[in-house]
């Protein structure tokens, strides 16, 4: 059992996301994260789903996804050379002078950006892999994390290989 990153190329049509998520829920597969948006091909979208399962379960997920008419291509990026990123925004308590400067130092070390500064809070934006975001969150927790939002992971193969149409 390990997390798998699936890159799914779909027709950009109404209902396609619910076809995909509906399939996960009714067949009992869990979604760890999900990110979706338009892509380089007109009329198509790309969904990145992270899900946890053993090899047989992941194989079954992919085969079932492939059966959906609106799905053009499903690839498991997991065992390939790939780049993966996730973005998170973290709103953290920062009312005293000391915590405020400590947080800004932490942000610098993590190459996070401060994208909003209020009288009592800071909002940090961080991009990276899941572990990096988790680490930052852990560090910030001592100051009080008021809100955290993550985009879900997106990924791509390294080099010239792509996840293109053609089942």
């Amino acid at each position: 059992m390990k997390p798998h990153t699936l890159s799914i190329l779909v027709e950009n049509r109404a209902g396609v996301l619910s076809r995909v998520t509906g399939l996960f829920s009714r067949r009992g597969f869990n979604i760890e994260s999900l990110a979706v948006g338009t892509c380089e091909e007109p009329g198509m979208s790309r969904i990145t789903i992270v899900c946890i399962g053993d090899d047989a379960q992941i194989e079954q997920v992919m085969k079932q996804l492939n059966k959906l008419i609106d799905i053009i291509k499903v690839s498991d990026l997991t065992d390939n050379e790939r780049v993966e990123r996730e973005l998170a925004m973290i709103k953290v308590n920062a009312d005293s002078g000391t915590s405020r400067s400590e947080i800004m130092q932490i942000a610098q070390i993590f190459r996070a950006q401060i994208i909003d500064m209020g009288t009592k809070t800071l909002v940090l934006q961080i991009t990276g892999n899941t572990e990096k975001i988790d680490a930052l969150e852990t560090l910030l927790r001592q100051y009080g994390v008021k809100e955290l939002v993550r985009t879900g992971k997106i990924g791509m193969l390294r080099g010239s290989k792509t996840v293109k149409s053609g089942k």
Partner: protein, 558 residues
């Protein structure tokens, strides 16, 4: 200028549709108005569920796509059980539903239901049409998707303003549909086929396990030729009955929960299992670890997702069953006849035949055997679900594909009567029998109205035990005879039939069976037979749920 409704009716005709089953309502009025003077035959059912089952029965008997039509909201929702039934058995139907006008969509309008959302898990694909111009394309795609690859139901939801909407000129029609997200595999992978040939040459105790996929791909001839060439015994699933003649010497009958003992022993002892158009359903395998425990497995199926879903296989071959069997036949040399293996099976057949108490009482197995002897090989048997279905599966000798119409995967009580109406329109020259129980017949008994109205010559044989028999049997065997809500009061079915203008006979003794069946067959038009059978007759053998297939019980009640 043409309306969407007109485009729809024209499109149906272009797809070769002759008969549709439906029920009108508010938002399909424009479509019904077009139907009024179209050459399409429309059969008015009494409940939308029946329209879906009739379309499904039509598809199973003919091999073509069945069509049903219903209004929005309750009409569409009533189709769902029928659509799910077709989905589970991979039956090609196109269900057309009306929808509230696009301007009201999502507003909880009168008779609005999100039928594309509701049917997403039970359709191969579905569409919500947004403009009249799209109707011909979507219809063409729907028939293509329903009928190709692994077949299945497709639903098209048409808002009222789309069926009244107009186009100035006909939208262009493509010669062949091509969808980038849908490219079924028909041809088997050469290397896998070669590996299968290798295993087949090495096997000493091979067994074919054939299912509904053989019927769907019209591969019965190839299957029999393949089996005969290699002298390999065959067992079929419930859905595969008729793929091989029931009286063929290589046929071991059905396997699984209510399979023959010898079929289940053969699966347990075989060293090579050739699974053809099957999906290793739990009713077939019993406890998975003990299913074909000594066998290498070759799995041939058009749906890659079925391969390895329940059971790990050694040689997967994705493609059309008929193509692949054809290739195997060509590549295989006639080899050994597995003498010892056949001897062993012969021994089992002799020692453990299908049997029931033949004591002069009116037992259902006897009725089925008599019917089997009376009907022609291409007459068609439809069943409901439960004991009636299993007795028929065990004791009727199906000799041809598409002569056995039953709800396997979903096990839908109430399927048989409406399905038999569809079967009649697919094969109007054949005798069609619906074998029913007194429980399941009452789930769609309103269709006697349809049958009477159109004089559909369906023969209904109710195996009436005044119980929900299969559930009662489980209560007897596994719940200490606590018959919780399974007893049904006696119903005078003949009188019900007569109220609709349909003739019938009640049969209470074994001596009357033959003449009653003959009367039903020889009376033109529909006919009802109410057989008052032994009330606590059980279906044997039975593999208890979760047990291994060779742990059948009740096999010895002779």
């Amino acid at each position: 200028m043409k309306t969407g409704a007109k485009l729809l009716i024209e499109g149906l005709q272009r797809e070769g549709v002759e008969t549709i089953f439906g029920y009108p309502g508010g938002v399909v009025l424009p479509i019904y108005d077009e139907l009024y003077d179209s050459p399409l035959r429309h059969i008015l059912v009494r409940h939308e569920q029946a329209a879906a089952h009739a379309a499904d029965g039509y598809a199973r008997a003919s091999g073509r796509v069945g069509v049903c039509l219903a209004t929005s909201g309750p009409g569409a929702c009533n189709l769902v059980t029928g659509i799910a039934t077709a989905y589970m058995d991979s039956i090609p139907i196109v269900a057309i539903t009306g929808q509230v006008p696009t301007s009201l969509l999502g507003n909880d309008a009168f008779q609005e239901s999100d039928i594309t959302g509701i049917t997403m898990p039970v359709t191969k694909h579905n569409y919500l049409v947004k403009k009249a111009y799209d109707i011909p394309r979507i219809l063409q795609e729907a028939f293509y998707i329903a009928g190709t690859g692994r077949p299945g139901p497709v639903l098209i939801d048409i808002p009222k303003d789309v069926s009244t909407g107009t186009v100035e000129t006909d939208p262009p029609r493509v010669e062949t549909v091509s969808l980038r997200g849908y490219q079924p595999t028909y041809k088997g992978h050469q290397r896998q086929i070669d590996r299968a040939v290798e295993l087949l040459t090495l096997a000493e105790r091979p067994l074919i396990y054939a299912g509904g996929g053989v019927i769907l791909s019209n591969a019965s001839e190839e299957l029999v030729r393949f089996a005969e060439q290699m002298m390999i015994p065959i067992t079929t699933t419930l859905m595969g009955l008729g793929a091989v003649p029931g009286d063929h010497p290589l046929n071991l009958g059905m396997l699984g929960m209510h399979g023959t003992e010898y079929a289940n022993y053969a699966v347990t002892e075989c060293d090579l299992l050739i699974a053809v158009g099957v999906r290793f359903d739990d009713r077939v395998t019993g406890k998975l670890d003990t299913f074909a425990p000594h066998a290498k497995i070759i799995h041939i199926d058009i749906d890659p997702a079925e391969i390895g879903k329940n059971k790990k296989v050694d040689v997967p071959i994705v493609g059309d069953v008929r193509n692949i069997l054809g290739e195997l036949i060509q590549k295989l040399q006639k080899t050994g006849h597995y003498q010892t293996w056949h001897e062993k099976i012969k021994g089992w057949k002799k020692k453990h035949p299908l049997r029931y108490k033949d004591d002069g009482k009116l037992r259902p197995q006897y009725i089925i055997q008599q019917l089997s002897a009376l009907l022609e090989e291409d007459d068609i048997i439809v069943s409901e679900v439960g004991q009636n279905q299993m007795w028929t599966a065990q004791y009727y000798c199906f000799r041809k594909p598409r002569t056995w119409i039953t709800s396997g995967g979903l096990g839908t009580m109430g399927y048989g009567l409406p399905a038999s109406m569809g079967v009649h329109y697919a094969r109007p020259d054949k005798t069609v029998f619906d074998i029913a129980g007194d429980g399941s017949i009452q789930m769609n008994i309103q269709e006697l109205g349809t049958i009477a109205q159109y004089k559909i010559p369906v023969k209904i044989a109710i195996l009436n035990n005044q119980y929900l028999g299969m559930v009662r049997q489980w209560q007897e065997l596994f719940y200490d005879r606590r018959y919780s809500f399974t007893e049904l009061p006696a119903v005078d079915f003949v009188k019900i039939a007569q109220a609709y203008g349909i003739d019938g006979i009640r049969v209470e003794s074994r001596d009357e069976v033959q003449s009653a069946l003959k009367t039903a067959i020889n009376t033109p038009g529909p006919f009802m037979l109410d057989f008052r059978i032994e009330r606590e007759e059980n279906v044997y053998p039975i593999v208890p749920p979760g047990a291994a297939n060779n742990e059948m019980i009740g096999g010895n009640n002779s």
